[in-house]
């Protein structure tokens, strides 16, 4: 039995979260979400289902857009994008995300790049997956210092999209929209609920039984290490190489 690496489990988890979508977009500098979207497409094809479209920004081959930077946002506004990924320097328990900086705005103690498309896409894409590998109290905070985009909106504000899940390097949460909070779904291999409690800076719902995050089986791993890495290497050659080295290390 071949074992999956931690990153491969993340990629597989993303692919599972994307099940049932027909068009997934992935932003710039997002190799793990891109790999997850590619695996989701490959798995859907293996099942013989409807084809999944993916638009990887920064890719020429895996990208449908021909009208420039604005097309992604127009496409999302029209409801043609089912899923997207956002991260954050800070993410809080209400699903608010901060991509701008910590401390007092505008002269932040730590300044991050900026909000990118979040203050729009979070509102209009139905299944936004928050992805951040670091699982720590400095990232998962009680309240963000700056709201790049809010987790929920009051009635009367146009809001067809929002957070669906939060995936970190240690656990998977689902967002409970009606409660406006996260619920712990599973912990990844090697991580425990106690650890998640200790390293999460916000309160979250925690059912009495929390399972382990499923890891990819042999056939899925073969697909990931073959076709998906090939596809990924066009946009993310260094990351594809890293995944490959990881997998060899695991097998040794």
């Amino acid at each position: 039995m071949t074992e999956a690496t931690a990153r491969e489990t993340l990629i597989y988890t993303i692919a599972r979260l994307l099940e049932g979508t027909s068009h997934v977009a992935v932003g710039a500098s997002s190799p793990i979400p891109a790999a997850g979207a590619m695996l989701s497409r490959a798995l859907a094809e293996r099942r013989g289902g409807e084809g999944v479209r993916i638009s990887i920004l920064g890719s020429a081959e895996h990208n449908f857009f021909t009208q420039g930077a604005g097309e992604l946002f127009d496409c999302a506004a029209q409801g043609r994008i089912d899923a997207f990924f956002l991260g954050g320097g800070q993410i809080d328990g209400a699903g608010n995300i901060n991509l701008v900086g910590s401390g007092d705005y505008p002269n932040s103690d730590v300044r991050w790049p900026g909000s990118f498309g979040s203050a729009f896409l979070y509102y209009v894409v139905p299944r936004v997956i928050l992805f951040r590998e670091e699982h720590s109290p400095r990232v998962l905070v009680e309240k963000v210092d700056f709201i790049s985009a809010p987790g929920t909106s009051p009635p009367g504000v146009y809001r067809v999209g929002g957070p669906y899940a939060l995936l970190t390097g240690a656990a998977l949460f689902f967002f409970e929209k009606d409660q406006g909070r996260f619920r712990l779904e599973s912990t990844h291999p090697g991580h425990t609920v106690e650890e998640i409690n200790a390293t999460t800076g916000f309160a979250f719902a925690c059912p009495p039984q929390v399972g382990a995050t499923p890891t990819p089986k042999e056939e899925t791993l073969a697909l990931l290490r073959g076709r998906v890495l090939d596809e990924l290497s066009e946009t993310y050659p260094q990351f594809a190489e890293l995944l490959h080295t990881d997998a060899i290390g695991k097998a040794a």
């Binding site: 009208q67 604005g70 701008v100 203050a119 729009f120 985009a149 009367g156 260094q238």
Partner: protein, 270 residues
């Protein structure tokens, strides 16, 4: 008519205080002209990123030419944070007007259409909206109780980008980089650097004409080989990842930035 200039003549079109718009890394940022812009020395620039900034923005900030940045992000992508930008925010050396990508693009589209604003979804409840007193929430005039943000037109004085080729009439092939056409429509003056100037008319071939920005919108062109380097230029060359990482590492300190820029100017020397 479109003027054909040298790179330094092109850079001299950028005056102190210019509202200067530019595309992202890998989508036609004219990094090669940066050396000439720094030599030209116009300060107090108001940069408009369409919709994000990268290497060129960071270099201009590091060189002390920038007063204000209107953007949805500044980053070196895989190479990490933009060091000069980060430093300038901390030391209050520049004013930041944080936005979100589609708001930058919507503002430019409003300028393209010659209208004062265009309404846009999202933003309500964010601190981006709260910290932008120049943006207003209006009521949808066609439906009760439907607030929506009115994004005012963004009208750059000058936009600058790099493209693979131009013809002798000043038509520029931009391919599927629609944001470059948008920049040109929205800006009073459009400056373009190109890898080469070709003898045939770029509008002559029906198969590729749609990806050509007509000379009507192009103020001046300078030939500048490898003008996007170390970023990629579509259909021409790949990103020089090692060089961008070298910049990212060097520019972590003020001294490192100065040292890097001295050799960068050398390496770009014609």
């Amino acid at each position: 008519m479109t003027a054909f200039l040298s790179a330094s003549e092109l850079a001299a079109k950028i005056k102190p205080g210019t509202k200067l718009a530019m595309p992202p890394d890998g989508s036609g940022a004219s990094v090669g002209l940066t050396k000439f812009i720094i030599e030209n020395g116009a300060r107090g620039l108001h940069l408009i990123c369409a919709p994000v900034g990268g290497l060129q923005v960071d270099m201009l900030v590091g060189a002390g030419l920038v007063a204000t940045i209107e953007t949805s992000a500044v980053s070196l992508g895989e190479a990490g944070a933009a060091p000069s930008f980060t430093r300038a925010i901390k030391s209050r050396a520049i004013k930041i007007m944080d936005a979100t990508c589609p708001a930058m693009l919507t503002g430019l589209v409003a300028a393209q259409k010659g209208v004062p604003f265009i309404p846009m979804r999202g933003l309500i409840g964010s601190d981006i909206l709260r910290t932008r007193p120049d943006w207003t929430v209006i009521e949808n005039p066609y439906q009760k109780d439907d607030p929506i943000v009115a994004i005012p037109a963004i009208r750059p004085d000058v936009c600058l980008f790099h493209a693979p080729e131009a013809d002798r009439s000043g038509n520029v092939r931009v391919g599927r980089r629609g944001e470059l056409q948008l920049l040109a429509y929205a800006s009073a003056t459009t400056l373009v650097t190109v890898e080469r100037i070709v003898e045939k008319s770029l509008l002559g071939d029906e198969a590729t004409a749609a990806g050509v920005l007509p000379s009507l919108y192009v103020s001046a062109i300078a030939e500048l080989k490898n003008g996007a380097w170390p970023n990629a230029l579509w259909g021409e060359y790949a990103q020089d990842t090692g060089e961008i990482s070298r910049y990212a590492a060097a520019a972590r300190t003020r001294e490192g930035f100065d040292g890097y820029m001295a050799s960068f100017k050398q390496s770009m020397a014609p």
